[in-house]
Structure formats: C-alpha cells, structure tokens
C-alpha cells in the first residue's frame, strides 16, 4: 500500500574494491560487503556516499595505477 521506504533504515555498505552502495540495515549483507559505519534513510545514506566516495576507481586499480605512475 503506502510506500514506507522513508521509515526503513538503510546502511552505507562497501566492498573490498571500496565501491559504495546502500543496503537494508536490518537485512543480511550479501557476501563480500560490509557496513561502512553510516546508517539512516536511503536518501541520507546516498548523501553520505556523495561526500565520502571521492574516487570511483576500484581499489585494486587505484593501487596498480599508483605504482605504475
């Protein structure tokens, strides 16, 4: 019936490549993802990601490019 997304608490999640996304705070995380420490509404989480995810490159690439440069 009514959309209750606003009530649902989401969490900022991150994988080993330091790619960010959001997931439901009360649901099990898919393998390879961990909580990044921020929880809130979905919109809050996305706003947080906008602030903290400054480099979209996967971590492994970032590290390889740093060594080869």
């Amino acid at each position: 019936m009514s959309n209750e997304t606003a009530e649902v608490t989401h969490a900022v999640v991150v994988n080993d490549e330091e790619q960010y996304s959001v997931w439901w705070a009360d649901r099990d995380l898919p393998a390879g993802w961990r909580k990044a420490g921020f929880e809130g509404t979905r919109a809050d989480c996305l706003a947080h990601i906008e602030q903290v995810w400054s480099d979209l490159r996967p971590r492994s690439l970032r590290e390889r490019m740093a060594t080869s440069a």
Binding site: N15, Q19, Y20, W23, P30, E50, L61, M65
Partner: protein, 1128 residues
C-alpha cells in the same frame, strides 16, 4: 469453507465470532451446521417469483455471455454395485416433488426475469449402457461421458436445469448429478444427494421416506429477499466502502494478452497437499485459533504478493448465505461473494500475517449479507468486458464430497476436473480425505506450465510458511528449489575466460596479422589496418605530448568519418578515455557535456567551433584539429601500458532525470562485449559492418571496434544517407556491408527501400514489433535482437529471431547475468514481472562525478557467487515466458495505471500500429485537461498518408479497430494525429516531447450528440424511459448515467424482444452507448435480412426445381440428418 469443531474451550466472544463465522462459512460445513436463527418467511405462492440476489447475478452472467457451461455444478460418484434405475427414477420424481426449484426456469419476458415453475423443465434420469466397454476402460469411459454432460450448457429459459445420469458399467454404476448454479449451490448439491439417497432407499424398501416437510420454498426466500433491503445493508455498505476503497485487483502476470472480451475457457492444475502437510495445516489452524480456510487463504496471499509484487492482495471467497435455519434443507442458490483484502507486509512473520487475515476474514463474514454485485455497483469497482468480475482470484474450500450411500451401495466420489474458469485464477480445494483440488485458470490468459508452477509454489510456500511461521516473510519469500535452480540457470550467460587485455590489444593483433586488409571504408575513402595504425599512432603521440593522463577523458566531436575511427583508436592507445560527442546534436548540448565531463582536450574538424563553444561556457584547454593530426609517428616513445580495468570510454546518456550522466566503461567490459560478437554473430575477418549509429551512442563504439577486433571492415555510412530508405540501402550495398546493427526505426526505413538489403540484421535499442521481426526473419540472412543499457556495455542480451514467435529480450551474453527482482531486490518467481538487474563483466564503473547516483543504481549483487560483486538496476521490467525466454514488459515509467488497471503502453501501441493506415504510433498517459479523470490514455498516430479530417474518419476507424483487439480499459481516451513522432538524439521516442492534448477536444462520451438515425432515436427513447432521464446523447455512457449491470442485462433483453435479434450483452461493456447499441441492433437486423434473403432464395430455387431433383435433394438431406451425431 471449513470450520473446526465448534465450541470447545472458547471464550464467549470467540464463541460468538465462531457462530457468526459458521453461519456464513458453512458452505464448507454442509447442511445442518449453521447457527439456528429463524425468522418468519411468508409463503409467496407458486406463481412467478422474483429472483434472489444470487440468482440475479447468475442470470446476468448468462446474459453477459450466453450458452456457457461455466455455472454447471456437478457431482460424480462410483456406486459399488447396481442401482435400481426404476427406484432411482421414482426417487428423482419424489425429489422434484419435494424441491420444486428443480423444475424452475427463468423467464425474462418483458425484460424482468422471474422464476417460474415449468413441468417441461422436470429433470430426467438418463441411463447410459456402457456394459459393452471392457471392464478396464469402463470408468474412464463413464468419466469422459460425464465430463461431456457436465460441459453441456443448459438453457435458463426452458430448462431443465438439472440432470441425473447413470452410466451402467459391466460391474458397477456411475452416478452423475448436474445442476445449474442458478437453482443450486455447493450446499444444495449436498442436500440434493442426501435427499435423493433417502428417497431412493425408501423406494427400494417400498416405504415412505422419513423426511421432515420443508418449512418454506426457495421462491419464498427469494421473494422475501427481493422484497426490500435488509436493514443490515446500510452498515454493511459503509463497511465495504471503507474496506475496498482504492481496491487494486491483483495484476497477475498473464502469458497471453487479455482479449477484448472474456470467455470461460478454463483448465486446471492439480494441487495436492499430502497427509503430512494436510496435518500441519490443521495443527497450525488449531494452534492459532483459526480455520484451515484462513491458513490457506493467508498462504495464498503470500504467493500472490510474490507473484504480483503487490502487497495489497484481494481474493474472492464464497459464503453459503444460509443464516436462517429454514434454509438449511433447501435446494437453491443462497451464496454470496466476499472480498478478502489483506496487506502482506514483508516484515511480518506468517503467524502475524495470519492473525491479520483472520481478523479481516471474520470482519468480512460479519458483513456478508449485502450482495456483492451491489458492492461492485456502489463502489464502482473497475468493470470491463475483459474480466469476468472485479475479483480475478477466487478461493473456495469445499468439504469432502458427500459420500452418500444408496440403500447400502457405497458411493465414492470421482473428480471430473474443471474446464471452465469464472475468474482469472480459482483455487478450489476439498478438505477430505486430505486437502486436494485444483488451481483453475483461464486458458486464454495462462499457459498450463504457468498454472502448474503457481500450484506447486502454493504448496511449497504453505509448507515453508508453516515450518518458519515467525520468520519475516520478506526473508523467507519461499520459492520451490526447482524454481530457484531454474531461475539461476536462466540468469547466467555462458561463462567464458576473459583475457586481461585492452581494446587496443585486440586491434593491435589485427594490425600485426593483416596490415594490408581494409580496416575502414567511407564514400571515397579506404584505410588499411596499417594506414589506420599510422594515423592513430601519430595522433596518440600528439595526445601524449599534450600531457594526457591515464583515464583522462578526450572529447571527440566528429561525424562518422575515418577521422572518427582514428581518433577513437588514438585516444585509447594513448591511455585516455574516449568521450564521443555527435556534431548532429545541438551545440548547447555538446557544450554542456564538455563542461560536465571536464575534458581538457577536444578533437574536432571544425576550426570555428572553439569560439562558439566558449560562448556556451565550454572551453577545453586544447583543441586538436583533424588537419593538424599528421601521420608522423613519434620515434622511440614507448606506448603507455594500459590496465584492462582502466576506462576505455565515457558515454553520456540522458536518464529519466533529464540530466545527462557520464557512464564510465572499462577496457575489460568493452573487450567482453567485443568477444561476444564472435560468439553470438560469428564475427570474423570477412565482416563488413555498416556503421550507422550516432557517435555519441555506445552502439557506435561497438560498430567501430567490433570489426576492427576481428580483422573485418568498418563501412561508415554518411549521416545524410541514413535519413532516406533508398539512399540508406544503396550506401550499405555500395560498401558491401554484411551486417548492421540498427534501431527498429532504421530498419523500418530500410524496409521501405526500393532495393532492400539482404544482410545480417541486428536490431535493438527500442521496441521491436512482431511485424518488423517477422520481416527481418523473412528477408535478411539472419536476424538478432539485442537489449542492454549503456551501464552494462552496449548490449547485455541477444537472441536470434525466430519466425512466428513474439520478440523476446534475449539471453545474457558471455559473463553476464540477468536477474528479475522485486522492489527489495528479492528474486521474483518464474513468470512474475520484476525489475531487470544486470551483473557481470559488462558492468560499468559508475557515473562520472556522481558517487551517490552510482551507489543508487549499482547495488550489491545478492546472487553473485563471487563476493563483493555489484549489479545494475536497469529500471526496465521483464518476465520469463513459459518457454523460459526473457520478455520485456516495460520501463518503470511505462507501467501506467489508468482507472485502476495496469496498462502496458507497448501493447496499446502495437494495437494502434496494427491499423493499416498507421505508420507509427505512440501511447502515453497525460493529465486530463478537462479534469474529469486524473489521467488520460493518449494515442499519437502517424498516418501513412496525410489524413484529411482525421476526426471523422481515421480516428474513429482506429478506435474501432483497437476496441476489437483490446480490452475497453486499454483503448485510449484521446487520439492525436502527428506528422512524425518526436525522437531523441539517439533515435528513440522522446516521450516527454509528445504533446498534451488540449481541453475540450474530448473525442469520447461527454458532448451531447442527438440521435442521427431513426434506430438511434428509438433506442435513445428506450434508454431514456429505462433510466428515467430527460436527455440521453448517443455517446453517453449507460453506466455513467446510472445504469448497472442487471439493468443493462434487462435492457438487452428488451431490445432483443423488440427487434427480434440476438444481442451479446458482453459487447455492450466495451462501449455502453446508444450509438453502439444501435450498431449492434443494426448488425443483428442485417444478419437476419441476409438470412431471410437466403431462405427466400432457397424457397424460390426449390419452387423452380423439377420434382425428381427435389426428391433426390430431400433424400440427401435426410440421410445427412440421420448421420448427424445425436446429443447425448
């Protein structure tokens, strides 16, 4: 419905609830179980009597779709021995004597239906001798014959409305009772069998039967019910108005498009609970203080929520309606339909859901008197001729079949199955000896495989829900293992090794291996691989000297030309990120993209561009003009090493938000796609690909590098040539193209060329109609359709088109996975509509400079085998067809709801385009400028030839055609004629640019239009009298004027009598107007005249025939008649 043993250990409140429950739910309990309430019912006498509300409903349905067997109730049983047929015939007479409803017919003379006793309608006993059939086949033969009799329509007007048949087998008898629902219900069938058995036993024994006289007749009850509204109606009306506000019927994922009119054609899939699960259901019902019906209803709710993606689930049920004790021993139809509406909250466990379902069920039962038809009329629930009723799903739980004993002969029930469906889906269960029955489905909507899966899902879900009743439903979301496995198999494309190489590596291999092969052709130009290499290296050197950093975007603003290919290869070779812009796009748009991308370097041919871009606020630091690129390959400069995960290109797409966003794609993703071309389309060095896509579209990247990665040739087609079918085809032929990848629009152009091409046809990027697909299959060497968003690298799915098959989305390409999920990213069941999510090697890095948007659309992949993977939410909706093919359903934005129905715009568009005069069409939802409705469905038509006065000719004609093929609720409210459809830069339909219709151009039913023909005038008069109105325009909607369904049926009967023509009530629903009625009557009159003319012709012919010829003719006719199969 079924109830537990009464009373034991209940609180008074519960006992009261139970009593209420039983009075309504007793359909499952059989006679004698209801609470003993009585009230005086006066005798009405044996003359014509009014119909009860339940009878009215049945009579109306008969008018709506005459001649159906959908409302025949039957019971079939094997008798372990020989029945005395004389005694049985006598018992049948006694039964009819006791229940005169059994010799009742419905007489509608004058439009007002009455129930009338008719001696000609006495049911008879037929004895069918099957003793010659070998013993092994006897029962099967009898069952088949019984099925045939059950499926014979009965005539409400003439009767008989009940039949009794004995099939005499070699060793035993089979008994069949069939009775029309208009005079009986499930309870009544039980009464009939019980009384018949008692009367039979008495006849056999030669004694009077010990049956107490009946207190009232059914007709007394019906007349009393019809005499005035029950005082309870007012509170019940208020309850239902509140309860069913904004009701959205379940949107079942049907396999076949809904036709304009429903039929009762049905079939069924077995549902078997087995003894363990049966016991578990009963145990759980006891534990939770409810009934098996409620437990099963709750489980059905969960399955429907999973299947439809809707939490708000409504299921119809039947109540016996025999609250009064006097009714218990009567044959007759007292049933009423109830709507059980529940919210399946995925956060609840099954136990909590069940508590809610129990409450809503009890509340519904407490308001069961108001006839459901009245609820429908008063709440104006969505009504259409395409639906049998406003409740697409029904659930009925019957008690175990009455195992009557015929004077010591044990009778064992035989399941005859279902061949008609009154709703889209009906779950019919019997609760003895253990829960079993069938999921009955409309066979014009569902594939049998889909129904079987649903039935299986229901059983599995029930088991799982009972095992884990406290687990939140959202986590459980139970799917059968087999289904989960099947979904996983369908989700995954072929798994292939993905070598750690770059796009440049792929091209370099060809440069080294085939330096003199032709790499690029364009009008008047031809570049070998070696030449291409030299020029690209020269430019790459210049880019490196310009300080290009790894992954740095280089904007390329060039038309499709050899320079474009050189630029793309050079940018990649220098380690940059290719950012193509299309000179055909507006400069403002290109300037905006340049600005957003922050590109420092721009490659272009246009000297004056810099100044113009600067005016628009875009000022790249360095502009390298094609004239200055040169061919000098710098010596000694080591080419940069490029990481396969580094970016290859960046494509700006305008999303639903309207702001273009830059999709970042790595070499690895691009290489995976390029390698798929070899796998899916046999690309090799002989390929000559006609490049036609806008350079700013990722399909263009594939066009350039697809052939180059296999040693083939890119043939660049000039932009001007693409606008004209003949020039387009000529350009492809001149270049010797062997394959192109085009949008449906491009192929429609080519199709109209005088000299069409015959090549390998790839088509994708927008909806591909079945008609175009059939053309491509017929005329091209091979035809494939492909689908995929830029975010998953060019195309994610592909499939070869096959003749006479609806166009599917295709299967995932190598190293790609496609999932269908609901809003919470859970897998949807097979066949259900879900959002398509794509994962795998093609996944883009994200959106340039937009981490939040990236995080929103690229989400954790909960289905991945490898940890930490992401998937892209496409916003496109799809489902698996019964054959396992992925079928596109619509964009998130295309799933529209108008007047309570979900409408697939694509389906409406296809219907408009099926009109011979229409070249193209689009359909959109727009606000109603007149404010009458919230939203209007608007069709935009592009005629093949300019239409003169479309309002009077073209539009009415298209509307008529669409009414023929679509359900009424899908027929657009407005039609606008356009010269052409607005398109975006990439050639897709620009929905936002479709005009909103102005006010007051409403081409449907609001304006008063006076009758124009004598027939319309007469019918207007009749409708006016009928509804008691002063004015009725020929376009006015009968229902909006206050007519309701029973009145509509009466009107149809009136017209039939007046004009002596057959009218099908259902036809009135699509367009309930005087105009339409007049057309129907006229068509009937015309048909009759033809027939009369035909008879007249034959009469004249016969008159002129010589006698001997006539005799011969008669003899032939009689012989044919003699051979005609007799009705059994």
């Amino acid at each position: 419905m079924n109830v537990p043993d009464p009373g034991a250990g209940l609180s008074p409140a519960k006992a009261r609830l139970l009593q209420r429950w039983r009075s309504g739910a007793a359909d499952g309990d059989g006679p004698g179980a209801a609470a003993p309430t009585e009230r005086p019912i006066p005798s009405y006498g044996t003359g014509p009597a009014p119909l009860s509300p339940a009878q009215q409903r049945l009579w109306f349905l008969e008018q709506l779709r005459p001649g159906s067997a959908a409302f025949n109730l039957s019971h079939c049983a094997v008798l372990d021995g020989r029945v005395d047929t004389d005694a049985l015939a006598g018992a049948l007479d006694d039964l009819v004597g006791r229940h005169d409803i059994l010799r009742t017919v419905i007489d509608a003379t004058g439009g007002e239906p009455r129930q009338v006793l008719a001696d000609g309608a006495r049911p008879r006993l037929d004895v069918v001798d099957l003793t010659d059939v070998p013993a092994g086949d006897g029962l099967a033969t009898a069952t088949a014959r019984a099925t045939g009799v059950t499926d014979e329509p009965m005539n409400l007007g003439t009767g008989p409305l009940a039949r009794l048949v004995v099939y005499r087998l070699a060793d035993r008898d089979v008994l069949l009772v069939v009775v029309h629902h208009v005079i009986a219900d499930g309870w009544a069938l039980t009464v009939a069998l019980r009384d018949l058995a008692t009367l039979y036993a008495a006849r056999v024994a030669g004694q009077p039967a010990d049956l107490a006289p009946l207190p009232i007749r059914f007709a007394d009850m019906a007349a009393w019910q019809a005499g005035g509204d029950d005082p309870a109606y007012d509170t019940e009306r208020a309850y239902w108005r509140d309860r069913l506000a904004d009701l959205r019927p379940p949107e079942l994922p049907v396999d076949k498009p809904r036709a304009a009119e429903f039929t009762y054609a049905g079939d069924w899939a077995p549902v078997e609970f087995g003894t363990d699960l049966d016991a578990a259901v009963r145990r759980f019902a006891r534990e939770t203080n409810t009934t098996p019906y409620v437990v099963l209803l709750a489980a059905l709710n969960v399955v429907l929520a999973m299947t439809t993606g809707q939490r708000d689930v409504v299921v119809g049920g039947a109540v016996a309606g025999r609250e009064l004790a006097q009714t218990h021993d009567l044959i007759g139809n007292f049933t009423n339909t109830l709507a059980f509406r529940n919210d399946v909250d995925p956060r609840l466990g099954f136990r909590d859901l069940l508590a809610g379902v129990r409450e809503t069920t009890l509340a519904a039962l407490a308001h069961q008197k108001l006839p459901f038809d009245r609820v429908v009329e008063e709440l104006k629930l969505p009504r259409s001729a395409a639906h049998a009723g406003p409740l697409p799903v029904l659930f009925v739980l019957q008690p175990g079949a009455p195992a009557a004993d015929f004077a010591g002969l044990p009778a064992t029930p035989v399941q005859l199955g279902w061949r008609t469906a009154r709703a889209d889906l009906e779950l019919h269960l019997r609760d003895q000896p253990h829960l079993h029955g069938g999921l009955v489905f409309r066979s014009d909507l569902f594939d049998p495989r889909t129904a079987r899966r649903l039935a299986e899902r229901f059983v599995v879900a029930t088991r799982m829900l009972l095992m884990l009743p406290d687990e939140p439903l959202g986590r459980l979301w139970p799917l059968p293992d087999a289904e989960t496995r099947q979904l996983a198999e369908l989700a995954a494309g072929p798994q292939r090794d993905l070598p750690p190489v770059t796009v440049v590596d792929l091209v370099d291999r060809q440069i080294a291996g085939r330096p003199h092969a032709v790499a690029v052709t364009a009008p008047g130009v031809r570049l070998s691989y070696a030449e291409l290499d030299t020029r690209a290296r020269a430019l790459a050197g210049r880019l490196t000297r310009a300080g290009l950093r790894p992954e740095e975007p280089v904007a390329v603003l060039l038309p499709r030309s050899p320079e474009l290919v050189v630029a793309a290869l050079a940018v990649l070779r220098a380690g940059g990120c290719y950012l193509p812009l299309d000179p055909a796009h507006s400069e403002r748009r290109n300037a905006g993209t340049l600005q957003r991308s922050g590109a420092r370097l721009l490659l272009t041919a246009d000297k004056n561009l810099t100044g113009r871009l600067a005016e628009l606020g875009a000022a790249p630091e360095q502009v390298l003009l094609t004239d200055d690129w040169g061919t000098d390959v710098p010596d000694g400069a080591a080419a940069p090493v490029i990481d396969p995960d580094a970016l290859a290109y960046q494509i700006y797409t305008s999303g639903s938000t309207g702001t273009p966003k830059g999709v970042l794609v790595s070499h690895r993703s691009a290489v995976n796609y390029l390698l798929s071309l070899v796998e899916e389309h046999d690309f090799d060095s002989s390929v000559v690909l006609g490049a036609i896509a806008s350079p700013a579209f990722d399909a263009s990247v594939a066009e350039l590098f697809g052939p180059l990665s296999v040693g083939g040739t890119v043939h660049l087609v000039d932009g001007d040539d693409i606008a004209d079918g003949n020039r387009f085809a000529a350009a492809l032929t001149a270049g010797g193209a062997t394959v192109i990848s085009g949008t449906a629009t491009a192929w429609q152009l080519l199709r109209r060329a005088d000299q069409p091409v015959r090549i390998n046809a790839l088509v994708g990027g927008e909806r591909v109609g079945d008609d175009l697909a059939a053309y491509l299959v017929d005329t091209q060497l091979g035809a494939w359709t492909q689908y995929g968003p830029t975010e998953t690298t060019v195309w994610a799915t592909v499939t070869r088109l096959v003749a006479d098959e609806a166009v599917p989305l295709g299967h995932p390409i190598r190293n790609t996975r496609c999932y269908l999920v609901d809003d919470e990213l859970r897998p949807v069941p097979f066949g259900a509509v879900g959002e398509l999510c794509i994962a795998g090697a093609g996944l883009a890095r994200g959106y340039a400079g937009s981490p939040a948007l990236t995080a929103e659309r690229f989400v954790p992949d909960p289905f991945a085998e490898a940890p930490g993977e992401r998937m892209y939410r496409t916003g496109d909706f799809a489902r698996y067809r019964p054959d396992g093919a992925l079928q596109f359903v619509g964009r998130r934005d295309d799933q529209v709801k108008v007047r309570g129905y979900r409408i697939e715009l694509g389906e409406v568009t296809a219907a408009a385009e099926s009109h011979i005069m229409i070249a193209e069409a689009a359909v959109a939802v727009r606000p109603d400028p007149d404010g009458v409705e919230d939203q209007l469905l608007v069709a935009y038509l592009v005629p093949r030839e300019p239409a003169i006065d479309p309002e009077t000719h073209l539009i009415p004609d298209v509307r008529r055609k669409m009414r023929d093929v679509l359900p009424a609720y899908m027929v657009p409210d407005r039609f606008l004629v356009l010269d052409q459809l607005p398109r975006t830069g990439t050639g897709k339909l620009d929905v936002n640019a479709l005009p909103t219709p102005g006010g007051n151009t409403r081409s449907t039913e609001t304006a008063y239009v006076a009758p124009r023909t004598p027939l319309e005038a007469e019918i207007t008069e009749i409708v006016r009298d009928f509804l008691g109105l002063d004015t009725v325009g020929v376009h006015d909607d009968f229902f909006e004027l206050g007519g309701h369904s029973i009145r509509a049926a009466q009107l149809v009967v009136k017209l039939q009598e007046r004009y002596g023509v057959e009218l099908v009530m259902q036809k009135l629903f699509g367009s309930p107007t005087v105009e339409h009625l007049a057309n129907l009557v006229q068509a009937g009159l015309d048909r009759q005249r033809q027939l009369t003319d035909g008879h007249e012709g034959i009469r004249r012919l016969v008159g002129e025939l010589p006698d001997d010829k006539l005799d011969a003719l008669l003899a032939t006719l009689l012989a044919e008649r003699g051979q005609a199969p007799r009705a059994s």
